[in-house]
């Protein structure tokens, strides 16, 4: 049993915090793309457009049915062998692509559930005032659905932040990769990994606090 090297830990904190922007940046970029993609997928699943519907179902099935790590390796190491220009993509881009596609599959399902959850009377009222289906979705249904979907989407975002740690397997020195290197150089494994665990934890807790504020704001319109 060795004693903890507290000085080393204190010295490591600022170094690792320097990697927080990259980790958050990858998660934010993936989340932005995933919000757009999953909304499109969800709307399609509600409208059930022939042929496209089968394709979307296949997409969701594949990206929910395979591990994220397998998908990342497929993009970064596998596909460039088939399509040579893909060798140009760097690890960060591959990670953002992988996270976007993977989480879109999940998010599409929860957005779809939220859309279906909007009361039928709302749909009928939109139709009655002569809106097209597109107008109805855009103006009436999606705004109400987003309130229902918001908590789950924030949960996916939290999951995404933690999943960026897999990017180190694609040679990206992000938060986890930087920690691995520091640990391999100092041989102080416990100190290194406990520091990085706390940094992730603080990030996610800060987000959860933001989530509570967001929910309170969204509920205001519905206060009775």
């Amino acid at each position: 049993m060795q004693t903890l090297d507290v000085n080393y830990m204190l010295g490591l904190i600022p170094v690792l915090i320097g990697y927080v922007p990259l980790t958050l940046g990858m998660a934010l970029a993936s989340m932005a793309f995933a919000l757009v993609l999953s909304s499109l997928l969800a709307v399609e699943r509600v409208l059930r457009i022939p042929v496209l519907d089968q394709a979307v179902m296949l997409f969701i099935s594949f990206f929910r049915g395979t591990p994220l790590l397998v998908q990342l390796f497929l993009f970064y190491y596998g596909l460039p062998q088939l399509v040579s220009f893909l060798a140009q993509i760097n690890g960060v881009t591959a990670a953002i692509m992988g996270l976007t596609l993977h989480f879109s599959a999940y998010m599409a399902e929860s957005i779809r559930a939220a859309i279906i959850g909007v009361d039928r009377s709302q749909w009928e009222a939109s139709m009655a005032v002569g809106m097209t289906r597109g107008q109805m979705l855009r103006r009436i249904v999606l705004p109400q659905a987003s309130r229902v979907a918001a908590p789950t989407l924030v949960n996916y975002f939290i999951d995404m932040i933690k999943s960026t740690s897999l990017a180190f397997t694609l040679g990206v020195t992000e938060l986890m990769g930087a920690t691995q290197k520091e640990a391999a150089g100092s041989f102080l494994y416990f100190e290194s990994f406990i520091v990085v665990a706390v940094i992730y934890w603080v990030m996610v807790e800060a987000l959860s606090y933001g989530q509570r504020l967001l929910e309170q704001r969204m509920e205001k319109a519905y206060a009775r």
């Binding site: 934010l28 040679g171 290197k181 520091e182 391999a184 041989f187």
Partner: protein, 253 residues
């Protein structure tokens, strides 16, 4: 909200996908950044014997040295695909590698070493004692090859790792690891891990810088090789070696 997301996303991606201009005057050097004391990171600073050698090569040739760190097993693929120009990570010259790459002259002369948990060096005194035991090596390393080529290799349970073989040996999860002698000695001296050298080095290894075996690669190799010749002659390499190992590992015994 969504608009802010989109702006963040576009900014993040455009930062990453900026086409990296292929400047002929740069030398992209790949290393793992996790092989103490050859290439390692402390307080975010990449350092080690390899870094000092490559900086000296850069100064000598006038090439701008740019370091790219990635997992050890990914380095060879990155060299083949042109993501990097050479690997400074104690790459041992082997017939298979010579067939695929253009090597410089050796700049490190070293040996393969068995390392065990402190206290076990009396029971395991060399590679023969590895029969029936579990041994850790770095995935894709020459030491993995060396172990597999032993006549009794089928009696050894070889476990390949991306990193941290020292830690798993110290924790007793494996009976030994095989690495090069000089860095093994440094790890035992400088790290808090309870490890010991088991017997003498069992195979002589010569380490050099591999380049792609095409016209541009060979031209670059010749440039770097000439620099190595000069750095050996003027004692620069010996001096760098003394700093890290307190001995000269850069000339043939």
């Amino acid at each position: 909200m969504l608009r802010a997301f989109a702006i963040a996303a576009v900014a993040a991606v455009s930062l990453d996908t900026m086409a990296q201009a292929q400047d002929t005057a740069t030398l992209k050097v790949g290393m793992s950044g996790g092989y103490f004391p050859f290439t390692f990171v402390k307080q975010d600073k990449l350092q080690g014997f390899e870094v000092d050698v490559m900086n000296a090569v850069g100064a000598e040739t006038g090439l701008k040295v740019e370091y790219v760190t990635m997992s050890f097993s990914g380095l060879v693929g990155a060299l083949s695909s042109g993501r990097i120009d050479t690997i400074a990570n104690q790459i041992t010259i082997t017939p298979e590698r010579e067939a695929a790459f253009a090597f410089t002259q050796p700049y490190v002369y070293d040996g393969a070493q068995v390392v065990v948990k402190k206290g076990n060096e009396t029971t395991i005194t060399g590679p023969e004692d590895l029969k029936g035991r579990t041994v850790a090596v770095n995935l894709g390393s020459n030491f993995e090859q060396l172990l597999r080529e032993l006549p009794y290799a089928d009696e050894i349970n070889i476990k390949t790792y991306e990193s941290n073989i020292e830690q798993d040996t110290a924790l007793g999860r494996v009976d030994a690891f095989v690495m090069d002698r000089v860095s093994s000695a440094q790890v035992i001296q400088k790290s808090p891990l309870p490890l010991a050298l088991a017997g003498q080095p069992f195979s002589e290894i010569h380490n050099a810088l591999p380049f792609r075996d095409d016209e541009a690669g060979r031209a670059l190799r010749d440039q770097v090789d000439a620099a190595l010749t000069k750095l050996k002659a003027d004692g620069t390499l010996a001096k760098i070696s003394q700093t890290w190992f307190a001995s000269d590992i850069t000339s043939a015994k």
